[in-house]
């Protein structure tokens, strides 16, 4: 009986922890499994798992071809250090071992029956098997082979570890049919207009007249590419200039194409995606709430089967003592724990019903009201007056004005110095004013700390930001004086140490510009926008994760396909061919000076795509043109079009949809929150929607509980 009671207590602990973390409760519930479960979800274990995922993803930067060079320009780049064969591979093996342990524990915990239904676990095992096989092949070739499938599979480990990302992926998946319809419509639009264009800009007998044909509509692939690129608006005025120059009326064709394709169809995609994702956030928060209520309820049910409860009770109930025992062992936020304990003590009754039990744990859903520590109380009149003066908001506004003055002064100096030779430049003026302003900043910080006390000062995020930057500026300024002496007219010392004086001054100025951001919370609309953006970033984590996954796969594929395709010496087959062809497109690479953009290493590819993800139009245009000369081009074309579709069209639209959703919620709330705005809430996504969430009913909870694969409830 005692063992049984212990088991129930342990089950209750785990269920409550599940509820806190919004985890599913469908796992094994015998004693040993519970221990394993708590161990697996302990901070250390989860931290090790995250670290392993980070390491295996980061391997791409140092693996051959490594990114450990300052520039990626093929003309200047020194040969990069490549790790010896076996180094990265052994790290990889260690990671794989961790994953094997992870997948076995996970599979054991969900139980066999659940395991067969869980496609993610199956895929996880499959990925591990393929990766390990590929690893063995790689080692048996002594790392000489180029095609490494396991590198493309790596982001899967990131994907399967986050339930949010899995959920998001499911949502995206359900939007695909409609997106496909619009993409199909785009394809029809594109192909009809291509045919039209080929008929309109056909080759004429008079060679002078068909510039448009020569440049953009020479054959079907060319025409298709021209119009596809026009859809991305990259070659916008260029593509129509020859035709427009011949007759004004040709512009009608291009206007029609861009208005239909770009204005209507592309925005229709936004509308469809927004429509699909309108309820997405709400739905996901709602299901989280259900998981929490379910966990609490499960804890209640197991506790109510404890032997100590009186047998004559009609309703099942839980004794306060048992709950206290459980609470002491549960790992949770100490503030919440104290609040629950407190309300347990004030509760007069000895037994808790299900409703009372749920009510106790509603503390978890509550906003944490942030309280600033009190200011110190001074005895002397002088100190009290000082405290009043420098604790006042006006002192903060004065600080903002001074920061603005500093920015303006830097701006003026920059404009004046813009056309001067570096040797003519006099650093005295800038040095002197910076010195003055930094002194003021230090004074402001010290006075504020005196007025508020260190603890209260640090409890405001804006003060922390301010203080940190002021300290950095002070250190830099002192270092400057230590190395170069005090500023005086004609202050132009020689280069010394790590950074020249000019570099130091520039660095200081950059920090000052950065420090100017402290004005943001003081402007109402800006504060709203910034908090919306911050909220958005929180909600976007899952999307960002998926983007990283897609990104990674694309970057690795890009390396495998195009490694070494750009060679400055012209001795690679690719460049040679283009030169030999002598076609118009030859040498575009050099003319454009896009040397640093090649596909030779991972960081390269990442930078490259990050920058061009949304607005990569132009570079795609050039690269398609460039690469379309060779056989490699077919792949490049498909690669870039796929990247454009995924990154620019789909991802950006998802982003817009989420932003709309978040912003509109926030905006609506702003109106009825106005009065309460003095209290700072530590807001989470869940809390934002609290007003509209529906509580799950008792029946739903019990039905779900009875479906639990491992838990046998008494009644």
């Amino acid at each position: 009986v005692g063992a049984d009671n212990d088991l129930y207590i342990n089950q209750a602990i785990v269920f409550i922890e599940d509820a806190i973390q919004y985890r599913s409760i469908n796992h094994r519930v015998d004693s040993k499994s519970l221990w394993l479960y708590r161990w697996y979800y302990s901070r250390t274990c989860q931290w090790i798992l995250s670290l392993t995922i980070t390491i295996i993803l980061a391997l791409a930067f140092i693996e051959k071809p490594s990114s450990l060079t300052v520039t990626s320009d093929v003309r200047y780049r020194l040969p990069a250090w490549n790790p010896p064969c076996g180094l990265t591979e052994s790290i990889e093996l260690l990671c794989f071992l961790v994953f094997v342990v992870d997948v076995s524990v996970k599979s054991y915990l969900v139980g066999w029956e659940e395991f067969w239904k869980n496609k993610w676990l199956m895929a996880y095992i499959l990925t591990l098997i393929v990766s390990l096989t590929d690893w063995i092949v790689s080692l048996s070739f002594f790392c000489a082979e180029n095609v490494r499938i396991r590198r493309i599979l790596r982001p899967f480990f990131l994907l399967q570890n986050s339930s949010m990302m899995k959920k998001t992926l499911k949502s995206i998946n359900s939007t695909l049919p409609e997106m496909a319809s619009v993409v199909l419509l785009l394809a029809v639009h594109l192909s009809l207009f291509t045919m039209f264009a080929m008929l309109l800009f056909a080759r004429t007998k008079d060679g002078q007249q068909d510039k448009e044909w020569v440049a953009y509509f020479r054959n079907l692939p060319d025409s298709l590419t021209s119009l596809l690129v026009l859809l991305t608006t990259a070659n916008n005025p260029d593509v129509m200039i020859p035709a427009y120059s011949k007759n004004r009326a040709y512009s009608i064709f291009f206007i029609l194409f861009t208005v239909l394709g770009n204005l209507f169809l592309m925005n229709l995609l936004t509308a469809i995606i927004y429509n699909q994702f309108r309820g997405y956030l709400l739905k996901s928060v709602q299901s989280s709430l259900f998981r929490r209520r379910l966990g609490i309820r499960a804890a209640f049910e197991v506790l109510s089967s404890l032997k100590e409860t009186p047998a004559n009770a009609q309703q099942s109930c839980v004794s306060v003592g048992a709950l206290q025992q459980v609470l002491q062992k549960v790992e949770m936020d100490s503030r919440c724990k104290q609040a629950i304990m407190r309300s347990l003590k004030t509760c007069s009754c000895d037994q808790l019903s299900a409703a009372q039990f749920q009510k106790l744990f509603e503390e978890l859903d509550r906003d944490a009201i942030k309280q600033h520590p009190p200011s110190p109380e001074y005895q002397s009149r002088f100190m009290q007056k000082m405290q009043l003066a420098f604790g006042h908001p006006y002192f903060g506004y004065l600080g903002n004005v001074v920061a603005l003055a500093n920015i303006v002064s830097i701006c003026v100096v920059l404009v004046m110095d813009a056309d001067k030779q570096p040797s003519e430049r006099d650093d005295f003026f800038l040095g002197a004013i910076n010195c003055f302003f930094i002194l003021y900043y230090m004074l402001e910080m010290v006075l504020k700390i005196l007025a508020m006390g260190l603890k209260k000062y640090l409890s405001y995020p804006s003060n922390r930001f301010d203080g940190l930057l002021t300290v950095i500026l002070l250190v830099l300024e002192i270092a400057t004086f230590a190395v170069y002496g005090f500023p005086h007219p004609g202050w132009r010392p020689e280069f010394m140490g790590l950074l020249s004086l000019w570099d130091m001054v520039r660095l200081v100025n950059m920090f000052i510009v950065f420090r100017f951001l402290r004005i943001i919370p003081n402007m109402k609309f800006m504060a709203l926008v910034v908090t919306t953006l911050l909220d958005l970033v929180k909600n976007l984590r899952a999307f960002a994760g998926i983007l990283v996954v897609v990104f990674y796969a694309f970057a690795i594929t890009g390396i495998m396909l195009f490694e070494g395709a750009v060679d400055p010496m012209g001795n690679s087959s690719f460049i040679n061919t283009t030169y030999n062809n002598g076609s118009l497109q030859c040498g575009t690479y050099e003319q454009l000076e896009y040397w640093p953009n090649n596909f030779d290493d991972f960081a390269e590819n990442c930078d490259f795509m990050a920058l061009f993800s949304h607005f990569e139009a132009e570079i795609i245009y050039w690269l398609i043109y460039l690469l379309s000369v060779n056989l490699i081009c077919r792949w490049a074309k498909i690669y870039f079009v796929a990247w454009w579709l995924i990154s620019s069209v789909i991802w950006v639209n998802l982003f817009v949809a989420l932003l709309l959703e978040n912003f509109i919620h926030k905006w609506d709330r702003r109106c009825h929150r106005e009065s309460l705005s003095d209290i700072e809430y530590q807001r989470t996504v869940e809390l934002m929607f609290r007003d509209v969430l529906e509580e799950p009913t008792e029946e739903e909870l019990m039905e779900k509980l009875h479906q639990h694969p491992h838990l046998q409830l008494c009644r």
Copy 2:
């Protein structure tokens, strides 16, 4: 008493007409004014007014500098025909006279008290005065002066004539404060990053290292321009290449800038505008409904004061006879009139209460159920079978398949002929298959007409589209055969008549491609998308009007500012200066071959801006660069930035907001309409929202009626 009764009848007629046209009823209601009012809103008068507005706007195309040249390329363009002084001016004077009459009638009809409150009328009069003054100045200079303010003011006449546009403008106006906040945020973002960039990419002592500084961040205006253009993503990879080539880490700066500016702030603008416009359509439809109900109610009130009503009636009511008398004189849709008359006859009572009266006119709000005329009934068995076969939808599907086959065949021929010289081309194959397909199309049309009867055939829009194109194709084909004979192998006749054979074939092919669009209604999702787009176009008329207004003003301003700025001979002061400076930007215009894009005439400017409105980024970039050399550049920069903000940022976002609104409504309705989809409705914007509209209450209506400035109700 009889005169009074006549007046009441006339008032009722006008009020019902107001209700039908959703007009305000706040106008004078004495006999003479009513006659004037009906005359002013008669079709002829409104048509004359619209024509006048069209003419005065169209004048820009033929005025000096006129657009009556084929090409706008300054190198090839022949001197355009310019109208003699006094020609366009006299047309203008006629238009002004019409406007003067218009404004006086309008002012008289609203009455003096209302006139002083009506800002639009005041602005109208002011515009007319300024225009006439400018016109007199122009004539007194014998048309030699260049600055013509009245040309910029012209679009105002378009604006003031449409109540929808005025309403939309009001909505846009109310969104401005929030838009201004985001634009301010963008400005702060831009200026902080500019300072950062100037510090980061400062001039170094080593001349080789500062390519970035030389190219993009030479001084404050340069840096600001570079980053502003980066915000439009026009110079996206170029601007970072020199820095990136030096060190990979510099890309972080550019990525941060574009992600913050382009992804967050720009999309925030979309969110704000969408949020403001979410209820816009609904609200405007709601206010239209109110106007309709108010008009009907006003008609009821005046009719109930007729002397023939029994004095003992407790409630006010209207005799059926009086209403019939009114209805006969009201100008309205004949279908509605008949329906109302019919329900009046079936109504058993002799007197109508207010509710009954309103109910009668609800016919106006009803969807017109479109009924196709019946198919002819044939006597012979053979004809009946034929009717069954060719009236079946499968016959339509067969037609689609044939059209697809035709498209594919044209595509194949195009691909095969792509690289052939025009002289090698054999037109026989294409001629033969086109001949065959066009015969099939004719046959299809004839058979369908036989099966359905001409009336039923023409009642389907898809058939009208089909039939029209088939007839055009037939005419073209017959003309080809008449001029060039029947196709045979090696069919390559000499040029004859207006078009060569090759041109004829191309034209036929274009029509065939166009005819292929008939498949759209057969694909469910496409049909939905297309109807959404068509709805959108209806709702967008007001926006489009405002765009035309802004467009016109910008185009005229552009002509005034930059006329003659681009000169191929290099003998204008502008080009001279750039050559003399010998700066890097010189000659960019020639290198880019943007010759046709100058600002010398109106059509030019319109084409130009239409094409670049959304995606003008690149051209703006080049033109800013080009023009920034001279003094004129200051204006060009401001002009283009303003144009970019208005067209690309604000207008496109408005468009997206409306599209989202329309699409989401449509999508929601699709689900509960599925079952009724067989019935074709002639849907109007008002009907789309009928489910969510609120009926105005009796009190609201009566309160509004009592506020009427001219109508004195008995009770």
